[in-house]
Symmetry: D2
Subunit: 343 residues, 4 copies
C-alpha cells in the first residue's frame, strides 16, 4: 500500500483528496494535516468523515516526508514552494495542488502571482500533471505540478486542434464558468450564499492567473495567446469552458472529429461527444471525466468547443490521484472508477 | 389610463407583464388571455396573483383590439404574425414579445425559424423595440418587435463600440448565460429541477436564433458577424453576456469609457461601471437596468465586455412596458423605477 | 412627505427598507447610515442602488432623530435599546427592526438574549408591530417593536385558532424553514455558498430566541408553550412555518375555515387558501403577503397549518413600512402593492 | 459474482442502482431494462454513463429472472406486484424499490394507494428492508420490500425511543423535507426548475402514503400514530426529518443518548451526534449514512430528533444494495464505503 499524506486537509481540495483516497484500495492515508490541525477527529472539521479513522494534525512537512511515499500539498501559492526542497524530494514524492510549479518561467510566475518564486531551481524537475498530455514525464517525476482547474478543461479541449494545426494560435477566446468550490473555504463576503446564489459573476477578466498556464500548455511551436474570462456560477462543483477559435483552413466536422479521435480514443477519462452534442457539468460531477463537444460555426469559420469537468475531481484531486497511480505503477483508474453522482 | 391587454398570460413573460402593469399607475390591465384561459381567476394559474382583480380568458385578438389601446402578444413565433393584420393595427397598438417582426429580412426569418413569414408586408412598419437605440421610431409605431433577451444584453454592450469604429466587425465572440425562465413554462424533461440544478448546459451553439438579430442590430454600415454560444445556468432569472472583440486600433481604457459615456450618459436604465469592474446579474434582478463593465486585454488587443440584464424585465416585459410608455407619451420609467430585489 | 432614516443600512434588512422606500411615494429617504458608512454612494455597498440618489453616512441617532419623522433601526440586539431614549422619542418615531422591545418581560429578554435589558422603562410603551393583530396600538405609538420573521409567520397562522379556543394551547409544535438572508450579511463559514447550497440545516432546535416571542403573542388568557425547531434552507428569501396543533374538540374543515374568515377576510395582506391547498414561498417572494393553508389530520385529531412569508418583506422591512404607513395615516398598502417577483 | 438486473433503469432510482453497482466489486450488472429501453447505450439516456458497458433493453421480468441472481424493480406502485410471482421467486431474488410489499395489511395498501393489492399472498413472505432493524429476516428473504425514503429517515430516528418506552406513542409529529429527486424523472410542471427553485412547498400534508409505513414500523406493541407533513425543498438530494415527541417520563439528555448507544453503537451506517449537535443533509449526500441528532425541550417535556439521509442512497438504492449484500453473504458495506461528495 502506498502511504499518502495531505497537507492542507482543512480545505475543499484536501477533503476531496481524503474522500477519494478513503476508498482507493491501493493507498493508505497516513497523515492529514492543516494549520487548523490539532489532533482532533477529521470529522470535527468535515462531519461527512464522522466514523472515518482520520485525525487532523498540525502541518509538518518533514514528518510527512518521513512517513509517506507521497505528499499532496493543497495550499495557497507560495506555500508549497516554501516547503519543498531537494531534501524533501529525496524522502518522498510531492504532488503540489497549487500553482507554484506550473509555470516553467519564474518571471511569469512573479508577474502573474506577484511573488518572487521561492525555489526556481526546482521548477525544471516538476512534471506538469495534465495526465493525458504528459503521462511519461509524470511516471518518473518526484514532483508534480498538478494543473489548475480552468487549464485542465480548456487545454484538453484545444490541445489536439492546436497540435494538428487546425486552428489559428492567435485567435482563441475562452470563457469559462466555475462552481463556487473553486473559491475554496475562505470566509469572504463575496462567497456568502446570498451573494452568489441566483447570480452570475465575471471576475478576473483578462487578468486571471490561469491564463499563462493555458498558453504554456498550448504553445506547441507557435506561441498561443488567449483571451480568458471566467465566471462564478451558483453551483457547488463543475467547470464549463467554451473555447472559440478560428479555423486555419477549410475543415469539416469530420476532420475535427478525426483529430479528437486520434488523440483521445484510448483515453478512458476523456469522452468526446458526437458532433453537435454538447456536454453538461452534471454528467461529470463527482467523477474524473472530461466531456468534450464541438460545433463548427460555418458562417464565421470558427470552431466552438465546450468542455466540462468537475473542478474538484479532474480539476484537482481526481487528476492528482490519477497521477499518483501513474507514479506508483497502479492502474490509472484505481479509485476513480465512479460515474457521476446524478441527480 | 391606457387600456392594456395581454395575449399569452399563462406564460412567464405574460405574468411578468401582469406584475409590472399591476402597479404601473398609468395603465389598466383590461384583458389577460391565453389558450388555457377559461374565465378563472388569474391566481388559479399563478397563485402570487391571488387577491388580484384579474381573470384569464380565452385568446381573442379581435376582442382585445377592440377593448385595448395596446395589446402585448407573448406567444411562440408564428402566432403573433398570424394574429396581427392591418385591420388589427387600425384598432390598437401591438407589442409582439416574440420573434416574428424582429428580423427585417423575411428570408432570414424563414431560414432561422423554419417558417415562411406569415405577414411579410407588416415587417417594414414594425419598430425594433431596443429602447435606447430606437426611441424615435418606437414613439410613432403601431407595431413593436420587442427584442430578444440575448440581443438586448449583447447589442447594448457592443453598439457604441461598433458605431464608433472601435472594434473589428468580423471578430466578435459572444458567450452568454441565461436563467431557466428563458425557456418558458413548457413542460420538458430538460427543464426539470434535477436536470438543470447544479449544472451548466450549452445549447444552440452556433445555431441560436438570436444570432441574426444581434447581427442585424450591430450591422451599421459594415456587416457584423458574431459567433454566439448560449448556456443555460441554474438561476431563475438573469442573463450575462460576455462579448470579446478585437480592437480596431490602439485604444485606451479611457477611450472606451468615453465612448460608453457618449452613448449612455443620459440613459437611466443603462449603468456603465468604472473600468475593470464587472456587473453581476443579482444587481439587476427584478429591475429594468442593463449593467455594463469592460476590460481591455492588452496582451491580445481585445476588449471584453460583460453586460447583465434580467431576462424577464429588460429582456422582455420591462422593456416592452418602457416602449409602451414611450408610445403613449408617459415617462419612460413609469412602473419601472424599482431597484433589484436583493438578496 | 414623511422624512425617513435608516440606521443599519449596510445589512440586508436595511437595504430592503431602502428598496421599498425608494418607490414608496409617500416617504423620502433622508438618511441611510451604518457603521460602515463614510459618505460614499450607497451603490458602492449595494450595486443595485447604482444611480440611486443615496449616500451612506456614519451612524448618528441624534442627527437622524433631528432630521427624520421616523427612524428604522436595523441592528443586532442591544444596539437599538442603547440608542433609543425618551429624548429621541420626543423628536422622532422609531421602528426597531431588532429584538430589543419585542418581549414585554425584561427578565425573559435577559434569559433568551443573554443581556440585561438596557432600557426596561421603554418596553411598556413599545407597540408590537404585528400589523394585523395590533393595528390600534401601532397607530399611536412612538416606538414600534417590529416582529421577528418566524413569529410573524407562525403567530399569524395560529392566532385565530387560539383566540377561538379551537386548539389546545399546550400541544403546539412548530417547524419552520428559512432562507439564508435571515442570517444577515455577516461573514461566517457556515453561511458560505458551498456550506449551505444543496443542504438542509436545523439550528437553534428548542433554543431559538423567537420561541418566547411566539408564545407571548399567542398567550391569550391561557399560556401557550410551543416546541420550535427552525431549519436553514438553500433559498435566499422565504419562510415556511408548519404548525401542528391538537384540536380542542370535534372541529370540521368548515369550522376552521370559518375561524380564519372571521379574522382575516378583510386583511389584504393575508391570503387564506381553500382547505387542503398549501402555500409555497415563491408566491410571496418580494411581496408583503402571508399565505396560509391548513389541513385537518382526522386520524390524530390535529390541524396542520402551513404559512409562508418573505422573511425580508412581511418578516421585516415590508411589515415595518406598513406600520409606518399606519402611524402616519397613509394607506396601509402604500409602497407595498407589488405581487411576487416570479419566477 | 452476483448477477444483478434492474427493471426501471431509466428512472433516478434505477440509475443510482447502476452507479453503485458499477463499482461494487461483488456484483455484475447483467440487465438494465425499462419501458424506454430499446437496446441503446445506457449513456444515451444518462450521459454520465457514457463509456460504461451498459445497454438498456425492454423490460422482461422472465428474462431477468432467468439471467440474474437478484432483480431490483424500480417502478410505480402496482407494477412490481404485477410482475413478481411464486415462479419468479423460485428463479431469482427480488428487491422491490417501490411500495407494493411494504404494508403488511392489504387493506391499508388499498386505502392509501387506491389500488387492490395484486398479490396479497406474497406480502407475508416479503421482508421489510430497513436494514438495521430487520437484518435477520432480510438474510433469508427471497423478496425484499425496500423502505420508503421518509420512513427510513423517520423510523430510524424514533425506533429506539419507542422500543424503550421513552416517548408517548400517540403524540408524535414528523415534518420532513425532501430534495426534488424524490419526485422522480416524471415530466410535470410542478417539477420544473422555475417552479421549485427558490421555494419551499408542503405537499401531501396529513395524507402522504409513507404515513402508514412509518406507523407500521414503530407500532411495537402499542399502536403509534403520527402526524406527517412533507415539504419539497430546492435541493437535488437529501431528506431531513424532524420528529417531535412527548417524553413518557423525566428523561435526561444522557438517558436519550444511552438509548441510541444501545441500539446503534455497532451500526456503521448510523451516526448519532453528540447531544445538541444537529445533522445536515450535505454530510450524507452520496453516502449510505443516516445521521441523527437530538435535543431535549425541557420547557415542553419533548424530545426533538433530526435525522438526515440521502434519499437516493440510504433512502433507496444504497439501502437496497446493503440488503443485497446481506442476502448474498457479502460484507454489508461492500460498494457503499464512500463518504459524502462534499461540497
Amino acid at each position: 500500500m502506498i502511504k499518502a499524506g495531505i497537507i492542507g486537509a482543512s480545505g475543499y481540495v484536501g477533503c476531496e483528496l481524503a474522500r477519494i483516497l478513503s476508498s482507493h484500495g491501493g493507498a493508505d492515508l497516513e497523515i492529514l494535516s492543516s494549520r487548523r490541525g490539532d489532533g482532533a477527529e477529521y470529522g470535527s472539521i468535515y462531519p461527512h468523515f464522522l466514523k472515518s479513522p482520520y485525525t487532523i494534525t498540525e502541518t509538518n512537512i518533514e514528518a510527512a516526508a518521513d512517513a509517506c511515499d507521497v505528499v499532496f500539498i493543497a495550499a495557497p501559492h507560495g506555500v508549497a514552494a516554501g516547503m519543498v526542497s531537494a531534501d524533501i524530494l529525496k524522502k518522498t514524492r510531492v504532488i503540489d495542488m497549487g500553482a507554484d510549479f506550473r509555470l516553467k518561467d519564474p518571471d511569469a510566475y512573479e508577474k502573474w502571482y506577484g511573488l518572487k518564486h521561492p525555489k526556481p531551481e526546482l521548477i525544471a524537475e516538476a512534471a506538469y500533471g495534465l495526465t493525458e498530455l504528459n503521462r511519461d514525464e509524470i511516471k518518473s517525476a518526484r514532483l508534480i505540478a498538478n494543473p489548475g482547474c480552468y487549464p485542465t478543461a480548456a487545454a484538453l479541449a484545444l490541445y489536439p486542434l492546436i497540435a494538428e494545426g487546425a486552428i489559428c494560435p492567435q485567435n482563441v477566446v475562452i470563457n469559462a464558468m466555475s462552481g463556487v468550490s473553486g473559491a475554496g473555504r475562505d470566509v469572504r463576503e463575496s462567497n456568502l450564499f446570498c451573494e452568489t446564489n441566483e447570480s452570475l459573476k465575471p471576475y478576473g477578466v483578462a487578468t486571471h492567473r490561469h491564463t499563462p498556464e493555458i498558453e504554456q500548455t498550448l504553445s506547441l511551436g507557435a506561441p498561443v495567446t488567449v483571451s480568458f474570462a471566467p465566471v462564478l456560477a451558483p453551483i457547488s462543483r463543475g467547470i464549463l469552458a467554451i473555447s472559440t477559435a478560428e479555423l486555419s483552413g477549410a475543415l469539416t466536422v469530420k476532420d475535427i472529429a478525426d483529430i479528437y479521435d486520434k488523440y483521445y480514443t484510448g483515453e478512458f477519462f476523456i469522452r468526446v461527444l458526437p458532433p453537435g452534442e454538447m456536454p453538461q457539468t452534471r454528467w461529470v460531477k463527482g467523477s474524473n471525466f472530461t466531456d468534450i463537444g464541438f460545433a463548427l460555426d460555418g458562417r464565421t469559420n470558427r470552431v466552438i468547443i465546450c468542455s466540462v469537468i468537475d473542478n474538484m475531481v479532474k480539476g484537482a484531486s481526481g487528476q492528482a490521484i490519477a497521477n499518483m497511480n501513474i507514479m506508483f505503477g497502479l492502474p490509472e483508474r484505481q479509485g476513480l472508477s465512479q460515474f457521476s453522482v446524478f441527480p
